[in-house]
């Protein structure tokens, strides 16, 4: 009897161990081919929910004083989903795992000020660009006058940006920063913290990000954006699973509709982002 139990336990444990460690290597390629073509839209339509992967970041998606989710992307996505005939479901994710979440179908899109890059275009389906973004320099307010476009940085200046971000590309690629020391950190918020604490002099972050973080009453009140200097304009898009052509068509159509009826402009105005909009009304 004892031996039978022991054998059973052994079998169960082997099974768990095998499931636990096996199969993770080739799974991502397999899942992406499963999600291909029109199957993806059928899948979304059938469940009726469009799960939107977000992180909290003002003014795109954030909690207001009452704890309600709000923001430019939140309202924009809600309108677009209305047009597509699906229910938006906002799912907070860890930004570092966004691609895995998408392929695992735990989310259906990433809609959170995602910068369009060639690398992302290759790995995911990307919507029409709907908003422009640029990189700005954030420095201590009392030192802002020391920086100007005609005076490139010297070796005593430490520049900080988020790793693998557009800010990092600027810090490494732009001549203006060529002589400066560069440090990479794991988030834009940490880049600001470096400048505030004095461990770095200049943070390069998204303009959109600077709106929410440098507002009055924040802990970064003593930091400021260097005026009249911006770098590397880039575009925001919505990412969906690769090769989901039908979902992409529906999404782009819906975005155009929300732009045509003027709602997109209204929402952008509310969050002070109107100048950055890219989707034109069709005639």
């Amino acid at each position: 009897m004892k031996k039978v139990i022991a054998l059973l336990m052994a079998a169960a444990m082997t099974a768990t161990a095998l499931v636990g460690c096996g199969g993770s290597s080739d799974s991502s390629s397999k899942a992406s081919s499963d999600a291909a073509g029109s199957g993806d839209w059928t899948y979304i339509e059938q469940k009726g929910d469009f799960v939107i992967g977000i992180t909290y970041f003002e003014p795109m998606n954030y909690l207001d004083e009452t704890g309600e989710l709000t923001g430019f992307e939140t309202e924009f996505a809600t309108k677009v989903c209305e047009e597509m005939g699906v229910t938006p479901k906002f799912q907070k994710i860890d930004w570092d795992s966004k691609e895995v979440e998408l392929n695992a179908k735990t989310i259906d899109c990433i809609w959170n000020g995602l910068t369009i890059t060639d690398e992302r275009k290759e790995n995911m389906g990307i919507s029409t660009p709907y908003m422009e973004n640029k990189q700005v320099m954030v420095v201590k307010a009392d030192k802002a006058d020391d920086f100007s476009a005609d005076k490139a940085l010297t070796g005593d200046v430490t520049v900080v940006a988020e790793k693998k971000s557009a800010g990092e590309d600027v810090a490494k690629g732009d001549e203006f920063f060529a002589a400066a020391n560069y440090v990479s950190v794991d988030s834009q918020a940490k880049a600001l913290l470096e400048v505030k604490s004095g461990t770095a002099d200049v943070a390069i972050i998204d303009y959109v990000m600077s709106i929410g973080t440098l507002k009055d009453g924040s802990d970064y009140g003593d930091l400021t954006v260097v005026e009249d200097m911006s770098f590397a304009p880039e575009q925001y898009g919505i990412a969906i699973r690769k090769d989901s052509t039908e979902t992409l068509e529906k999404l782009n159509e819906a975005i155009q509709k929300v732009a045509d009826n003027g709602e997109l402009e209204q929402i952008a105005e509310k969050y002070n982002l109107k100048d950055l909009l890219l989707v034109e009304k069709s005639k």
């Binding site: 336990m9 052994a10 768990t16 799974s27 929410g212 973080t213």
Partner: protein, 216 residues
């Protein structure tokens, strides 16, 4: 002041998730760890090998990676048709991980009891199970209180790792505030952990005193 209350509420809400993971993990991983320790002491060789392999895999890989595997591998393998809810995935990973560590502590505790005690039991005509439960077990519990306490304190802080599969626990909420321009919530969150661990430390010392009725 209003801001402080709002931040405290959000952090407390996050810490609720941490506490939930902590309690469930503790309740399930202690008994599971005991079963595993029985397996690794078994004289039946295949079971012993499998258990040792299990403990090696679980202790030999980062908990963060195990969280990823439990949550993402099922949907990636099934093309999205099956996945655990986020919290369940976190609980599975935590319970299995901590069971592996606890099992080794149990094994160490049991093996530290001198053979003479078993022999004494046999001389008195006790059955094997009687010897274990009436003589050995209590001494084991006394010996392992300190190392188990250590693991439990570690567990409190490890619960924060659940944020990698987007469980809105306290550190994730605190980081969200830094995206809104508030830095201090991140450091303030430390107080929640300190308070929780403080209470646990008091509990452990109380428990150890209770067990002090004999010198083993």
């Amino acid at each position: 002041m209003e801001q402080f209350i709002n931040v405290s509420q959000q952090l407390l809400k996050g810490f609720g998730e941490n506490s939930f993971i902590f309690i469930i993990t503790l309740l399930l991983s202690l008994p599971l760890g005991f079963i595993v320790s029985m397996g690794s002491r078994s004289r039946f060789v295949p079971l012993k090998i499998v258990t040792k392999l299990f403990v090696w895999i679980i202790r030999g890989t980062p908990l963060m990676l195990q969280l990823f595997v439990v949550f993402y591998v099922p949907p990636l393998m099934s093309g999205g048709s099956f996945n655990f809810p986020r919290m369940n995935a976190a609980l599975i990973a935590f319970v299995i991980n901590y069971a592996a560590y606890f099992s080794e502590i149990f094994r160490g505790g049991i093996e530290a009891i001198p053979k003479g005690q078993y022999e004494a039991g046999q001389v008195l005509g006790m059955k094997k199970s009687q010897i274990f439960f009436k003589i050995v077990l209590l001494q084991v519990i006394k010996r392992i209180t300190a190392p188990i306490g250590n693991e439990i304190i570690t567990l409190v802080k490890d619960t924060s790792l659940a944020s990698v599969i987007a469980i809105p626990e306290i550190l994730m909420n605190a980081k969200d505030f830094s995206m809104q321009g508030l830095i201090w919530p991140l450091f303030y969150s430390a107080l929640f952990f300190l308070a929780f661990c403080g209470v646990l430390t008091l509990l452990f010392s109380f428990f150890e005193k209770k067990l002090d009725y004999y010198k083993g």
